[in-house]
């Protein structure tokens, strides 16, 4: 595959920037969410939704679409951001995140266009993706791909390896798992809490083709997904291990488990977003709802 055109690269960079911005916007406004894992997978989502995946926001259930199962469903803000940027729903919907009837804290496929599965408990998405990939085979849909975005910490779950075994057993080379390997779990480093290494060898031993990539390099990601779709398939499922930085783009959150689940105060979010705009060499822009303080919870005296 030829390298990305300068225009395409700028488009992907802008998408990644906006995914990061909107993630912080919605988490701050909702006063709840997972910034670290949303920021780490922003580049992966930008390349998937704006380069690799075939989707139709006007017809979200189009049979010929590529599917994305978000197994690390706590990172839903980044996916919600990608979907609104893609045009699945209005941008202002992001401020319904974690509100009744709005964008669910984890994922609810019945409420939000473009969300392909409901999730939350870790370790469950790869099985669902195996079912989708198997179903596509039965329907003789050979164009569509199933992408399954996994966290690194959830690779501790046994269910993941049940699904890994099955995907290889069924020869599902229309299934592409992507590991957002940001090295940090909820309460510390993966290697400290429960090691998953040697990761390449594990997936290979389970019968997968393993591709390794810098998960923040847009051009490298685009090349690896092209390879996964068109070049690699040979009767084995494919896993792309994307090496990422938890909290990527905002210094205080990078490699810092304290920003796994933590909503910034509006003033902190404002500073974070200004920093982010500098990193992307964009005009300085802070938190859009800074002058819009939300009511404090009053139930039993508040949170």
């Amino acid at each position: 595959m030829s390298a990305l055109t300068p225009e395409k690269k700028r488009e992907l960079e802008e998408a990644a920037y906006q995914i990061r911005r909107l993630s912080i916007e919605m988490i701050t406004y909702a006063k709840w969410g997972h910034p670290g894992g949303s920021l780490s997978m922003a580049d992966i989502l930008a390349v998937l939704y704006f380069q690799e995946m075939n989707t139709d926001p006007k017809n979200p259930k189009w049979e010929g679409r590529d599917r994305l199962i978000l197994s690390k469903a706590h990172s839903s803000p980044a996916l919600y951001a990608a979907l609104t940027l893609k045009g699945f729903y209005p941008r202002n919907d992001i401020y319904t995140y974690c509100e009744p009837g709005g964008l669910e804290g984890h994922t609810d496929m019945t409420r939000t266009a473009g969300i392909e599965s409901s999730g939350g408990p870790l370790g469950m998405g790869l099985s669902v993706a195996v079912g989708c990939a198997y179903g596509l085979r039965l329907k003789e849909n050979s164009r569509s791909r199933v992408f399954c975005l996994l966290g690194d910490g959830e690779l501790n779950e046994g269910n993941i390896w049940e699904a890994a075994m099955a995907a290889a057993h069924y020869h599902l080379d229309n299934l592409i798992a992507v590991v957002d390997y940001n090295k940090v779990m909820a309460k510390g480093f993966v290697w400290d809490l429960m090691s998953i290494e040697p990761l390449v060898e594990k997936w290979a031993a389970f019968g997968w083709d393993v591709l390794d990539v810098d998960g923040h390099d847009l051009e490298a990601l685009a090349a690896i997904f092209y390879r996964a779709r068109w070049i690699q398939p040979r009767g084995k499922p494919i896993v792309v291990i994307g090496h990422t930085v938890k909290g990527r783009g905002i210094e205080m959150a990078e490699f810092n488990y304290k920003w796994h689940t933590h909503a910034p105060e509006p003033e902190i979010a404002d500073a974070m977003l200004r920093e982010l705009s500098h990193r992307y060499s964009r005009p300085e822009l802070g938190y859009s709802k800074l002058g819009d303080p939300r009511e404090k919870e009053s139930f039993y005296g508040g949170e």
Binding site: T110, E116, S117, S127
Partner: protein, 322 residues
């Protein structure tokens, strides 16, 4: 393979396997998944008839239900087949979040329920599935009273959009219904009309309620027997009407009474027409290995036990009105 006839009734699990095949002929998007138990669950009938629509997932129940969710997302109607213990304990998170929460079109047969399983014992004698499944939003739940009831439930289940759990007993018990029997969600059925006490049965326990009613008749007691295969939704109107008529009730289930069918009946009565009620079922104990006869005796679930409970609630009714 055994065929069903009045003189040689087949085990319910065989009726289940044969009905899978019958449905498979009509519903080409139906799939059967197995976790290495198809000769026990009798899903093997489907494997033989439709090998291309049969998925073997190995001994991995969490994966069994996750894959079923994915297949349902692609428009198929999966029947993930395993023992009730594994469906409702090992894989509960997958059943609840991957399947029930989005309301996916997955039909879950829970095999080997309650006391009559084999001699496998505590780990395999599933007594908590009614309580567990009943608590899941979007889920429907049924426990068939005989093979015709099972067939009707399976037919209604595949016509119902959304998740369904139904129980399949590894046992042969008497026919209650004819071949033209129909099943409707939330509808119970009066099998025997009476005025003195209502015996609410579900699953195989309805047969034992009928036998209990015969015992009571010999003592001059006129018992009503109500079969409630549909546990969720449950026939609130029939429960209240029957209890309103007889003034006391006994519930009977092949499961734990904690949170199960008896609890469901009690909840309805407590909120509509409170009457004295006794629950027959497993009483906060695990069910060990043993012969079926021994187990029903040990757990006090024989027709004699149901009849005794009827006497107790009738006495409570009399004491209250006196």
């Amino acid at each position: 393979m055994a065929e069903n006839s009045p003189s040689h009734p087949i085990e319910m699990r065989d009726a289940f396997g044969q009905m899978l095949v019958q449905l498979g002929k009509e519903y080409t998007h139906m799939l059967v998944l197995d976790a290495d138990l198809h000769t026990s669950s009798k899903a093997g009938y489907f494997k033989a008839a439709f090998p291309d629509r049969f998925l073997q997932v190995g001994i991995a129940e969490q994966n069994l239900f996750g894959i079923s969710a994915g297949l349902a997302l692609e428009g198929f109607i999966p029947f993930p087949c395993t023992f009730a213990s594994f469906a409702t304990r090992r894989a509960l998170d997958q059943v609840a979040i991957s399947i029930c929460y989005p309301g996916l079109n997955v039909k879950i047969p829970g095999s080997y329920v309650g006391l009559p399983t084999s001699r496998a014992g505590t780990s395999h004698n599933c007594i908590e599935d009614i309580a567990v499944i009943r608590s899941l939003p979007n889920m429907r739940l049924a426990d068939p009273g005989d093979n015709a009831d099972l067939r009707a439930i399976m037919h209604t289940a595949i016509e119902t959009d959304g998740p369904v759990y139904f129980r399949v007993t590894r046992y042969t018990f008497p026919d209650l219904f004819g071949a033209d029997h129909r099943f409707e969600w939330g509808k119970g059925e009066i099998l025997r009309s009476g005025n003195d006490v209502t015996l609410f049965g579900t699953g195989m326990m309805t047969s034992l309620c009928v036998n209990a009613a015969i015992l009571l008749e010999k003592e001059g007691i006129d018992a009503e027997v109500v079969h409630l295969a549909s546990i969720k939704p449950i026939d609130q109107e029939l429960i209240a009407t029957s209890a309103g008529k007889t003034g006391c009730a006994v519930s009977a289930e092949n499961a734990s009474i904690i949170g199960g069918f008896g609890s469901a009946v009690t909840e309805v009565l407590a909120e509509t027409y409170p009457v004295p009620l006794a629950r027959i079922g497993v009483r906060d104990r695990f069910v060990t290995s043993g012969s079926i006869g021994d187990l029903f005796r040990i757990h006090g679930m024989l027709p004699e036990d149901i009849a005794r409970a009827a006497h107790t609630v009738m006495a409570q009714k009399t004491g209250r009105t006196a």
